[in-house]
């Protein structure tokens, strides 16, 4: 049981989910603090990583709802932080996947990231998000298709090359 050891993966998921480095780290911090407050509810012998991700997901959804209530224009969620890469082709490709990701509905984005980036099983993903496995599969299918057409639409099937001028 080591929360520090979980930080890198929590940060990766949060970064991909929020699309913003600072928001991601705030979300990780909120998650860790909430986890420590709720430590009594963690059952020894169960998986700490999925428990932490479930806490993070709930926090993120709550934050989105609050933000949406507070301001109609709260679309920070879509904010994109361009990566500073020295290779311009790589920069374009990275921006493309991030842009496409940000355009996915949150529930599809979460499923896609947990499966395709974090490599969790469909069952674990369902447990983290508190939804049935069937819903995981349908959201995964929709997310992948949307991403495919978004990336293809941007660059006619060659996302990393065609936009380089």
């Amino acid at each position: 049981m080591d929360l520090v050891g979980h930080l890198p993966r929590l940060r990766r998921y949060a970064r991909a989910l929020t699309g913003d480095r600072h928001r991601a780290d705030d979300l990780v911090q909120d998650t860790v603090e909430r986890a420590l407050r709720k430590a009594l509810l963690f059952r020894p012998g169960t998986r700490l990583d999925t428990w932490l991700l479930a806490i993070m997901h709930n926090l993120f959804i709550n934050q989105l709802q609050v933000a949406q209530r507070q301001a109609e224009t709260a679309l920070d969620e879509l904010s994109i932080e361009p990566k500073s890469a020295t290779d311009p082709q790589q920069a374009v490709a990275v921006l493309d996947i991030e842009t496409a990701l940000a355009q996915l509905p949150v529930e599809q984005r979460a499923v896609l990231l947990l499966v395709a980036l974090e490599e969790h099983s469909y069952e674990d993903t369902a447990a983290i998000l508190g939804i049935p496995v069937g819903t995981v599969m349908s959201r995964l299918a929709r997310a992948r298709e949307r991403l495919r057409s978004a990336l293809a639409g941007e660059a006619s099937g060659e996302p990393s090359l065609r936009r380089v001028k």
Binding site: M1, D2, L3, V4, G5, H6, L7, P8, R9, R11, R12, R15, A16, D25, V28, Q29, V32, E33, A35, L36, A39, L40, P44, K83, Q90, A93, V94, D96, I97, E98, L101, L112, L113, V115, A116, L117, E119, S121, Y122, M137, L140, A141, R144, E145, L147, R148, L151, A152, P159
Partner: protein, 256 residues
């Protein structure tokens, strides 16, 4: 073959089909260019996601996050087990042994030993401060801190090997904890605490839930052997530990 289900196509991309079905699906995909294009696109998505975000895995987390994750070290370690030990063992020991100074010392000893067991035995990454590969250093260090000549009992005959040990704060100064583990991952801790001079005591036994503790006093030291083991098995281990520990100092000249 039967055409794959939509969900199988995703399981194929995610490497979650069994090998036989995956082979069937590969063959099927070779005949279906549209499905193949989807598989390629989904795989490319995964690669793009890793390319975009994996650098965070190699980056040191900012200090504020590390500090937040380290806060409340005790609370994140099996808090229920710790609380149960304090209450349960205090209750048990308090009832068994009422009023003498020795009994109060024993009660405190068994409580602290059980809590230390509950805190450190489940640790995956850092069960001990100094590992068994540095046993000589470990024994020397803990002996110096406790002001005696410690020894690690040999429990290998009953399947338990030394994992290592650590220094802990006790009521009246430093305390040593040695950890042992058997082939199935069960862990024992031997807690050695400093105390006033005592008459040697018999073995006493306490348990709370699955955790069993044999404890005894000998000279200036109190000992407690804790583990989630059957009583008879723990007793055999405690007897070996007692024998090894009381062989010091001086070591009796064992004639061959």
């Amino acid at each position: 073959m039967t055409p794959p289900l939509e969900s199988e196509l995703h399981a194929f991309v995610d490497g979650r089909l069994d090998p036989a079905r995956a082979a069937e699906l590969s063959a099927w995909l070779a005949q279906d260019a549209a499905a193949m294009a989807r598989v390629h696109a989904y795989r490319a998505q995964k690669e793009a996601l890793h390319a975009a975000f994996d650098d965070l895995l190699d980056e040191a987390p900012p200090p504020r996050l590390v500090a937040a994750a380290r806060r409340s070290v005790l609370r994140r370690l099996r808090p229920l087990a710790v609380a149960a030990c304090w209450l349960g063992l205090g209750f048990l020991a308090g009832h068994g042994l009422r009023t003498t100074g020795d009994s109060r010392d024993l009660q405190a000893l068994v409580q602290r030993a059980a809590v230390a067991h509950a805190v450190y035995a489940p640790e995956v990454r850092h069960p001990v401060e100094v590992g068994a590969e540095q046993e000589a250093h470990l024994v020397q260090w803990l002996s110096r801190r406790l002001g005696t000549s410690l020894k690690t009992p040999r429990l290998g005959a009953l399947g338990f090997d030394l994992v290592g040990g650590r220094l802990l704060p006790g009521q009246d100064g430093p305390v040593a904890q040695f950890m042992y583990q058997d082939g199935s991952g069960r862990r024992l801790t031997l807690y050695v605490g400093h105390d006033r001079e005592h008459e040697a005591s018999a073995f006493r036994y306490a348990h709370e839930g699955k955790l069993a503790v044999f404890y005894w006093l000998d000279g200036r030291f109190g000992y407690a052997l804790s583990g989630e083991l059957p009583r008879a098995e723990l007793l055999r281990l405690a007897e070996i530990a007692y024998r090894d520990l009381t062989a010091i100092p001086p070591a009796p000249a064992s004639n061959p």
